[in-house]
């Protein structure tokens, strides 16, 4: 495999990650959201492995394997089990309508490219073109958390944001040191468990996972 080919595949993966991020933004059905999230994790894992192969940084292979287990298998499975147990079918309405969300999302992508433009010319890394995508994925995850009113969707948004962060790590520095990466993965897993436990408590206390129900704590009551 020649270097340029690897770089091209990597760019395709970046494009696919961005595409799935948009998919997550507009998809209303919760199971489809989970599938999209798992695909995003898969593209991330392939991209990390390619960068690892080209640069010879072997710890990236472990990182890629970690992404595969955590983001493609374990987390979607946990969420799937929760959705099944809590009998969630369809998501409730989003706060902002979908075409509008798309437009804001496109705006965010353009902003990310604009922000990273000065350095992509300076950098010599093969991954330089993907930094804008990583930043855009983070922002789209954030947008998803803001526009969705359902507890599970908010968490999927948060996990998509983390995908963007991992992507940024590979494109910025060819990955973090192993210890830190393992720690981040562990923290993510624990966070997912805590959020999962909270889904149960929220749905039994409020009879729904609509976060708008949680509005008791205000000033002056």
């Amino acid at each position: 495999m020649s270097l340029t080919l690897a770089a091209q595949i990597n760019s395709v993966m970046a494009a696919l990650i961005l595409l799935t991020a948009f998919g997550l933004l507009v998809q209303r059905r919760i199971l489809a959201l989970l599938h999209l999230f798992a695909w995003q994790g898969f593209f991330l894992c392939v991209s990390t492995a390619i960068v690892g192969y080209v640069t010879g940084e072997h710890h990236l292979f472990i990182s890629s394997l970690l992404t595969l287990t955590l983001k493609v298998i374990v987390l979607p499975y946990i969420l799937y089990a929760l959705i099944h147990k809590l009998k969630i079918r369809k998501e409730i309405e989003t706060l902002v309508n979908i075409p509008m969300t798309m437009l804001i999302g496109i705006g965010l992508v353009i902003f990310s490219y604009h922000l990273t433009a000065p350095i992509t010319q300076l950098s010599t890394l093969m991954t330089r073109a993907t930094l804008a995508v990583a930043l855009a994925t983070v922002m789209l995850g954030l947008l998803m958390m803001v526009t969705r009113r359902h507890a599970v969707t908010q968490i999927i948004g948060f996990l998509a944001l983390e995908n963007g962060l991992f992507f940024a790590a590979t494109s910025a520095t060819y990955g973090m040191p192993m210890v830190v990466e393992l720690g981040v993965a562990l923290d993510l897993l624990i966070a997912a468990f805590i959020f999962g436990i909270f889904f149960f408590h929220i749905s039994t206390t409020f009879d729904s996972l609509d976060v708008d129900q949680m509005a008791r704590l205000k000033e002056g009551d």
């Binding site: 958390m145 948060f158 944001l161 940024a168 040191p177 923290d187 008791r216 704590l217």
Partner: protein
């Protein structure tokens, strides 16, 4: 090196013990035992000053020492308090609470000694996670809401801080340097790093760690979490976790100060700090819930820290004083507030009135805690807040100084309007008496904290004074 590792391993071992002990009444004793050992260890480490680890990942500088001392003293007070508090709350299982507190202590200790930005981030993220079950200790609809907000805002915030860390790594790549996330390395790199990228990294980390500290406008989780969590958890959130966020900010600040041109960073910090103080002051007036009041007071003081970093000069020494003063005074107030909440089964100033007659010790502690918090002499916070004013005026920023004075006055009046009826008012008639009574274990820990804040304000021991000066020197602009 092994001493510093022990600082983290000891609380972990304590957490393991708490997990293994089956009895709900015996388990809380693990907390004071571990905390006392940890405090002893911290003092030993501060005297020995162990050299950094070979890779430079773990090291102990003056800032870390000061942070560890404050943390360990506060935690020990909370731990002794917890024994009696949990006796009142026998209806709840306390296994998760005891474990979570100890794991959190380990993570906070790690953040104090971490000199690798990735490791520091990891430690801070862990503190967020292991505090979540504690905020949820009461298991009701209100505490779910509070915990959900806390988890979401802090997790997203800290994720943004991680992005900032990557930007930092990227900036060193752009400058043609070997990428590194070690603090000392980055400080030597700083003058060569491209300004745009350093600025971007700083902004992301300011927002990220600012959310963890609870700076306005990222503070919205704070009144809810502090209001719904038990008093001792509130004390740890305000005097431990918030300081962890501040430590994260301090580390990036140190790098920025080494970069040469510091105008941008200073302006951002002063702006955000003043904004937080002003927002907190507004919400402190007419606050009926005294635990939420304490949360806004915490927002105010985090704003003061940020402002102090922005002002520089004398304010840096003040910030280090304030790190100790604010943390311990918050401990006094939250522990006393926990007692008052128990005594009246309410945290509303309309119901919880006249603590002096109902629980005189807790009432007195709450009153003096207010003075310690708002910077009245002789407390240590007086000297620190004075240094902020003097820095603002002597550095030729009278507008900043005036705004600060107005906000602090409003905040003081607002807090007094809530605290005074709670302490001196007439106890409500026709209300069922709770079985709460002031006991030594519930009163002595906050009293000790109050005495430390008071005595240190009058006479600061030599070694501590030198430590604070050394810590402030680490924050100076590198020339």
């Amino acid at each position: 090196m092994w001493l510093m590792t022990l600082l983290i391993l000891l609380p972990m071992a304590g957490a393991m013990a708490a997990w293994l002990i089956p009895s709900n009444t015996a388990r809380p004793w693990v907390l004071p035992l571990t905390a006392s050992l940890h405090l002893g260890l911290v003092v030993a480490v501060c005297i020995v000053s162990p050299p950094p680890s070979p890779g430079g990942w773990i090291g102990l500088d003056a800032i870390g020492k000061l942070f560890l001392l404050e943390l360990s003293v506060l935690f020990t007070a909370c731990a002794f308090y917890a024994v009696n508090y949990l006796r009142y709350r026998q209806e709840r299982k306390n296994r998760v609470l005891c474990m979570g507190m100890l794991v959190c202590l380990a993570a906070m200790s790690l953040s104090a000694v971490a000199h690798h930005l990735g490791l520091l981030w990891l430690a801070i993220e862990t503190t967020t996670l292991c505090m979540a079950p504690q905020v949820y200790f009461n298991h009701n609809a209100r505490s779910i809401e509070a915990t959900w907000k806390y988890m979401l805002i802090c997790s997203v915030g800290i994720a943004l801080a991680l992005l900032g860390i990557f930007f930092l790594a990227y900036s060193s790549l752009v400058a043609g340097l070997e990428p590194s996330l070690l603090l000392e390395q980055l400080r030597t790199y700083a003058p060569k790093l491209p300004t745009v990228w350093l600025n971007a990294a700083f902004c992301f980390m300011l927002v990220g760690y600012g959310a963890k500290m609870g700076l306005a406008p990222m503070h919205t989780w704070k009144p809810d979490a502090y209001g719904e969590a038990p008093g001792l958890v509130g004390a740890l959130l305000a005097g431990g976790l918030a300081n962890c966020g501040f430590l994260g900010l301090i580390r990036i600040y140190q790098i920025c100060m080494a970069s040469g041109d510091v105008q941008f960073y200073r302006a951002m910090l002063v702006g955000l700090g003043l904004f937080s103080i002003a927002v907190a002051a507004v919400f402190l007036v007419r606050q009926t819930d005294f635990k939420r009041m304490l949360a806004y007071s915490s927002v105010e003081h985090m704003g003061l820290f940020t402002l102090a970093l922005g002002l520089g000069g004398k304010a840096l020494y003040g910030a280090m004083l304030h790190l100790v003063g604010n943390g311990l005074a918050k401990g006094v107030l939250f522990l006393a507030a926990g007692n008052i909440h128990r005594a009246f089964a309410s945290k509303n100033r309309e119901v919880a009135r006249g603590t002096f007659r109902r629980a005189p010790w807790s009432g007195a502690l709450f009153l003096f805690g207010l003075f310690a918090m708002t910077g009245s002499p002789p407390f240590i916070t007086f000297s620190s807040e004075y240094s902020f004013f003097s820095a603002a005026f002597s550095e030729g920023r009278p507008l900043v100084g005036t705004l600060l004075a107005v906000s602090l006055t409003v905040a003081f009046l607002g807090m007094s309007l809530t605290v005074l009826p709670v302490v001196f008012g007439d106890p409500p008639k026709n209300r069922e008496r709770t079985r709460y009574g002031d006991t030594p274990l519930l009163v002595v820990p906050p009293l000790v904290l109050l005495l430390i804040v008071g005595v240190a304000g009058i006479w600061l021991p030599g070694p501590l004074y030198r430590l604070m000066n050394a810590a402030a020197a680490l924050l100076e602009v590198v020339r």
